[in-house]
Subunit: 105 residues, 2 copies
């Protein structure tokens, strides 16, 4: 179960990944879980929140753009991205955003 | 059903609202639906994506910070925010972020 990420004071980066999946998602669940685990081990990783109904939204938080680039270029992650593009996702959008302000309770 | 928002080319703003609800959420569904409807009518609104399991993530997209401020200050929205803080949400976090880059299919 995903909780609200405990991120440091801004500024930091958010990667908002929104996706719709195809009917056939063989292998998806295992890879998605592995990518969540692998992401947490990366330099600059600050936290992640993920929810899916039909639409899935995963927001990962990072200290800087360089960390995001390194994660995108990670070899195991690249394989997963390729599977996602070729097989699992009917459509997706990745947005890279600088968090300027946050508040909550 | 929420789809992937068709946003213009960056830069634009994202408001990432992550929340966990209390057990008693009387009145929540109607107000949440009304706020989605009302948001779409606001100046500067570009789109919204919303998903909930236990965790809820709603990402709304806006042309600029001024539009976000006006929406936050909207009278009907202020009442809803107050109900959310007082009754519906056990915890929440709002993050205001400048989308610098996006890509997808």
């Amino acid at each position: 179960m995903s909780l609200i990420a405990e991120t440091p004071a801004p500024p930091y980066y958010a990667v908002i990944f929104s996706s719709l999946r195809n009917a056939d998602i063989e292998g998806y669940a295992r890879t998605a879980a592995r990518m969540m685990e692998l992401a947490t081990e990366q330099p600059g990783f600050l936290g992640v929140e993920a929810v899916r109904e039909d639409l899935g939204i995963t927001v990962s938080y990072w200290s800087d753009l360089q960390s995001i680039k390194q994660w995108k270029a990670n070899a195991e992650h690249r394989l997963a991205q390729q599977m996602g593009m070729d097989k699992w996702y009917s459509s997706y959008k990745t947005r890279i955003a600088l968090v300027e302000r946050d508040y909550g309770k």
